[in-house]
C-alpha cells in the first residue's frame, strides 16, 4: 500500500468515526449495506475513469453513457424481449464501441479528450432522452428477471451482514484492474504513456494503441456500471439519470492519487476515493446537513485533500532536489546549460 492510499484510508476511518460518534445510526447494518452498495456501483465507473486519466486523458461522458445504455438495456429486456444475457453482452459491446470511437477521435483526429468526451456527454444524453421521448424507462408490473435481479441488485447474508452483490462486482473489477494496471505489461505501458508519451514512443510503445485501449476499457466498465445502476434504480428518467456521475468518477480518481496530467494513481486509491465520497454523502444525510449542501461538502473535502497532498508533494520534492544536488555535484548541470542555440 502506498503512503497516499494509507493516508486516504486513515481519512475515511476518521470521518467515519466522527459520523458514527455524532450519529450512531451510521453503523446500523442497513446503512452500511446501502453505503456499500453505492460504493459498488460508483466504484466500477470510477475505475473506468481512472484508466483514461492515467494515460493523461479525461472522460466526461460517463454519466450520459450510463443514462443511454441504461435506457437501452431496460428497453431491450422489457420491451423487446431480448434475453437478459444477450442484452448485457450487447450493452457492454456498445460501451466498448463508444470507447473505441472516443479513443480514435483523440488519437487519429488529434482532438483534445476534453472536447471529444464533452461532445459525448451532450450527444448521449440527448439521444437517451429522444429515444424514450423523455419518458421514464422502467419495469412494468409483472416484469421479472429473478436471476438478473439477484445478480445485480441482490444481497447475500454474510455472518448477518447483507452484502450487496455490487460489492462483489467492485471487488472483482478492482482485483482484475489492479492486476492489469499494476502487474501487466499493458498497465506499465499505460503509466509510461501517461508520464511521458514521447519517451514511451522512443521506447517502442505504440502510444496511440495504448490510449485507444484505455478508452475502450473505460467504455466497457462504464457499460457494466450502467447495467448495475439500471437494475438498482429500476426506473430511468433519461434527463437526470447518471448526471454528474463523471464528476464523481473524476473526484474519486483524483482523491485516489491520479493526476490529471497522467501517469499517476492506483486502483486501491480510486476505490478508497469512492468510499470516501460515499461516506461523505452519507454524512450529509445522517448529520442533518441540508441535502442541498451535498456537493458543497464534497467539494470542500476534495479541495482540502488535494491541498494537503500538494503541500506534502512539494515538501518531498524540495527534499529530493536538495539531495539530488548533493549527489550529482554541480558539473553535470553546466554543459547542458550552455548547450542550446549554438
Amino acid at each position: 500500500m502506498q503512503k497516499k492510499d494509507l493516508s486516504l484510508l486513515i481519512l475515511i476511518i476518521v470521518v467515519g468515526a466522527v459520523v458514527a460518534f455524532i450519529n450512531p445510526r451510521f453503523l446500523l447494518v442497513g446503512n452500511l449495506s446501502n453505503t456499500a452498495n453505492q460504493v459498488g456501483m460508483f466504484g466500477v465507473f470510477s475505475i473506468a475513469e481512472a484508466f483514461v486519466i492515467i494515460t493523461g486523458g479525461i472522460e466526461l461522458s460517463v454519466g450520459s453513457v450510463i443514462a443511454l445504455l441504461g435506457v437501452l438495456f431496460i428497453d431491450l429486456i422489457v420491451n423487446r424481449g431480448v434475453n437478459w444475457m444477450a442484452a448485457s453482452a450487447l450493452i457492454i459491446a456498445a460501451g466498448l464501441v463508444i470507447g473505441a470511437v472516443h479513443g480514435a477521435l483523440v488519437t487519429k483526429m488529434r482532438i483534445q479528450p476534453f472536447v471529444v468526451t464533452l461532445c459525448g456527454l451532450l450527444i448521449y444524453r440527448g439521444v437517451a432522452r429522444y429515444y424514450t421521448e423523455d419518458a421514464t424507462a422502467g419495469f412494468g408490473f409483472g416484469d421479472s428477471f429473478p436471476t438478473l435481479e439477484w445478480l445485480t441488485a441482490g444481497r447475500t447474508d454474510v455472518f448477518g451482514f447483507p452484502l450487496p452483490h455490487t460489492v462483489v462486482a467492485i471487488v472483482v473489477v478492482a482485483f482484475v484492474a489492479w492486476i492489469v494496471l499494476h502487474r501487466s505489461v499493458f498497465g506499465r505501458y499505460l503509466y509510461a504513456v501517461g508520464k511521458n508519451e514521447e519517451a514511451a514512443r522512443y521506447s517502442g510503445i505504440s502510444s496511440d494503441r495504448v490510449i485507444v485501449s484505455s478508452y475502450i476499457v473505460c467504455g466497457g466498465l462504464t457499460a457494466l456500471a450502467a447495467i448495475l445502476i439500471a437494475m438498482y434504480t429500476r426506473s430511468i428518467s433519461p434527463a437526470v439519470h447518471g448526471s454528474f456521475y463523471e464528476l464523481y468518477a473524476i473526484a474519486a480518481a483524483v482523491l485516489g492519487g491520479c493526476s490529471l496530467r497522467g501517469g499517476e494513481g492506483s486502483i486501491l486509491g480510486v476505490v478508497l476515493g469512492t468510499i470516501l465520497l460515499q461516506v461523505l454523502q452519507n454524512l450529509v444525510n445522517l448529520l442533518g446537513i441540508p441535502s442541498s449542501l451535498n456537493f458543497a461538502v464534497m467539494g470542500t473535502v476534495i479541495l482540502i485533500g488535494v491541498l494537503a497532498d500538494q503541500y506534502l508533494v512539494q515538501r518531498r520534492q524540495r527534499a529530493a532536489t536538495a539531495k539530488g544536488r548533493l549527489q550529482a555535484g554541480a558539473i553535470a548541470g553546466a554543459p547542458a546549460d550552455r548547450a542550446p542555440a549554438e
Binding site: 514521447e198 519517451a199 514512443r201 522512443y202 521506447s203 555535484g329 547542458a336 542555440a341
Partner: protein
C-alpha cells in the same frame, strides 16, 4: 563611427568544471557591423546571454557609453538599447504585426478599462515599416508571414525600442538567397542610421559581405579579430580551428565488415528537397558531423521511425525495410539514443530497472504479467557492465546525474540485440569521466559487431572517436572523410558547405 559604444573587457564565465568564456574582449562602435563566428560550443551563445543580462559573468567589465559595470540585468540591457533577434523568434502567431511590435506597450484609450487604441497602435508602427521598406502592413496577421518576414518584425520591434545594438543569432540559417540578400540590405540600412549590429553566423561568405570586423571565438576565447579587408572564409576557418585535439582514438579490433545500415536518398520533413545517402558498416563508428540545424537529428529521427521519411529507402543487412514507427525500428535491432534524454530518452519518474526493461517488456513477463525480479536482475547486470553509479536500481532515473542517466538509456538497448545504434550527441551535458566510459563502450560495441552512427557537434569527439566521418550541411551530405583526412579544418570546411 569610431566612438566605442560597447566595450567588453576580459569577460569570463566559469561554470563548475567548464570555462565557457575565458577573458573575452572586444568593442562595438556606433554603426559598426560585427560578424561573430566560432564553432559549436565556442561560447557565442553564452556571450550573447551576458549581453542580454541573462547570464552573470564571473569576471571582467562591460562598458556601455563609458559607464563600467560588472554585469547587466535584463532591464539594463534593454535600457542600454541592446536588442536580440533570436533563432527561435519570440513572436505571437495570434497577433498582427503591430500587436507584436508593441506587445506590452500598446497605446491605450484613456479610462480605467485599459482598452487598446488600435488606430494609434497601427499609426505608430507604420513609420517603422516604411523605414525598412517591408512588404507587409501593420495589421497583417503574423501567421501569414514567412520566417524571413518575421525576422524583420523582430528587427522592427528592436527599432521601436530605440535599439542601438541589434544582436542577430544565425538570422540567415533558414532563409533563401533572396531573403538573405534583403536581410543584409536591412543590416546595411541599420548601419547607415548608426545602429550597431552583432551578426552571428556560420555562413562565412556573409561575414565577408557585410561585416566591418569579424571576431572569432574558440573555446571561450577571442582568438582573433579581422578588419574588413582581411576577412576571407579561409582566414576565418584558420582562426576557428587550431586547438590541440587530444587523441582519444582507439582503432577497431578488426577491419569493418559489410554494410549493415544503408540509407539511400533519404529525405526528411525539414529538408524535403535534399537527399541523404550513407551507409554504416559492421564494427564501424561513423561520425555524423555538421553544424546545429544541418539536419542530422532529423535524419536520425526518420531512420528510427519517429518522423516519417519523405522519400528514399533504408536497407538493413542488404534487405530493404520500412520503419514507420520506433516500434518497427526496435524490432529490427535499430536503436536510437536521443539527444534530449530527459524528454525522449527516459521516463524520469520510472525506476532505473523499469526504464531499462521498457522497450522489451514482454521478455520480462510471464503470461503478460511483468516479473519485477527479472527486471531487477537485468538492471543489476547492466549496472555492473556500464558502471552506473547507484546503490539501488529501484531509484528513479531522474535522480541520477547526466552521465549515469545516459548509461541507463544505453542499458535499455544493450539489454536487447543491437544491430545498429544511433547516438545523437552521446555525451552532451556529461562530465569528463563518464564521457570516457561512454567512448570506451562505443568502441567495445563496435568491436562486438554493432554498426554505430554517432551524431556529434563536439569536434574533439567526432575526430577522436569515429572511424569515418560524414558531414552534413543544410540537409545534405557535403562530404565523407577517412581517418587519413581527419582534421578540424576539413570537417569545418564541409560543415560550412565548402569542399575539402
Amino acid at each position: 563611427m569610431t566612438e566605442p559604444f560597447l566595450e567588453l573587457v576580459d569577460i569570463s564565465k566559469i561554470y563548475p568544471g567548464v570555462v565557457a568564456l575565458d577573458h573575452v574582449s572586444f568593442s562595438v562602435s556606433r554603426g559598426e557591423v560585427i560578424g561573430l563566428v566560432g564553432e559549436n560550443g565556442a561560447g557565442k551563445s553564452t556571450l550573447m546571454r551576458v549581453l542580454g543580462g541573462v547570464v552573470e559573468p564571473s569576471g571582467g567589465v562591460i562598458r556601455i557609453d563609458g559607464v563600467e559595470r560588472r554585469s547587466l540585468t535584463v532591464a539594463d540591457a534593454i535600457k542600454a538599447g541592446i536588442a536580440f533577434v533570436h533563432q527561435e523568434l519570440n513572436l505571437f502567431d495570434n497577433l498582427d504585426v503591430a500587436g507584436n511590435v508593441f506587445i506590452g506597450r500598446e497605446p491605450l484609450y484613456a479610462g480605467p478599462l485599459k482598452l487598446v487604441d488600435r488606430k494609434r497602435l497601427h499609426a505608430q508602427v507604420r513609420p517603422l515599416l516604411e523605414r525598412l521598406a517591408v512588404d507587409f502592413e501593420p495589421d497583417t496577421p503574423l501567421a501569414e508571414l514567412s520566417l524571413a518576414q518575421r525576422q524583420l518584425v523582430e528587427i522592427i520591434k528592436a527599432l521601436s525600442l530605440d535599439a542601438r545594438l541589434v544582436i542577430m543569432d544565425e538570422p540567415t540559417s533558414s532563409l533563401t538567397l533572396t531573403e538573405t540578400d534583403r536581410l543584409l540590405r536591412v543590416i546595411a540600412g541599420l548601419k547607415a542610421e548608426g545602429v550597431s549590429v552583432i551578426f552571428i553566423t556560420h555562413r562565412l561568405n556573409e561575414v565577408k559581405e557585410c561585416a566591418d570586423r569579424a571576431v572569432v571565438l574558440r573555446d571561450g576565447r577571442t582568438v582573433g579579430a579581422l578588419g574588413k579587408a582581411e576577412i576571407t572564409p579561409a582566414a576565418l576557418i584558420r582562426l576557428m580551428i587550431g586547438r590541440d585535439l587530444k587523441s582519444l582514438y582507439v582503432p577497431p579490433a578488426a577491419p569493418p565488415g559489410k554494410n549493415v545500415l544503408e540509407i539511400v536518398e533519404a529525405r526528411t520533413e525539414t529538408y524535403p528537397d535534399r537527399a541523404v545517402s550513407l551507409s554504416v558498416r559492421r564494427g564501424e563508428i561513423l561520425g555524423l558531423a555538421g553544424l546545429v540545424g544541418s539536419g542530422r537529428t532529423e535524419l536520425a529521427r526518420a531512420i528510427f521511425g519517429v518522423d516519417p521519411l519523405r522519400g528514399g529507402s533504408i536497407k538493413l543487412e542488404g534487405e530493404p525495410i520500412r520503419i514507420p514507427t520506433p516500434r518497427a525500428a526496435i524490432e529490427r535491432g535499430v536503436y536510437l539514443v536521443p539527444e534530449d534524454r530527459k524528454r525522449s530518452g527516459l521516463l524520469l519518474d520510472f525506476s532505473i530497472a523499469e526504464n531499462i526493461s521498457l522497450p522489451d517488456l514482454a521478455s520480462y513477463a510471464r503470461a503478460r504479467l511483468v516479473k519485477p525480479a527479472l527486471e531487477i536482475e537485468n538492471a543489476r547486470r547492466q549496472r555492473e557492465r556500464l558502471r552506473i553509479r547507484t546503490p539501488d536500481v529501484a531509484t528513479a532515473a531522474g535522480a541520477l546525474s547526466g552521465g549515469n542517466q545516459q548509461k541507463v538509456v544505453l542499458a535499455k538497448w544493450l539489454s536487447m540485440r543491437p544491430k545498429v545504434l544511433i547516438f545523437d550527441e552521446p555525451t552532451r551535458g556529461i562530465d569528463v569521466g563518464a564521457k570516457q566510459e561512454i567512448y570506451d563502450m562505443l568502441r567495445r560495441l563496435a568491436d562486438s559487431g554493432v554498426a554505430i552512427l554517432m551524431i556529434s557537434s563536439d569536434m574533439e569527439e567526432v575526430i577522436g572517436v569515429s572511424d569515418r566521418i560524414a558531414v552534413m550541411h543544410e540537409g545534405a551530405i557535403s562530404g565523407f572523410l577517412d581517418r587519413s583526412q581527419f582534421s578540424e579544418h576539413n570537417v569545418l570546411q564541409l560543415a560550412v558547405g565548402h569542399t575539402v
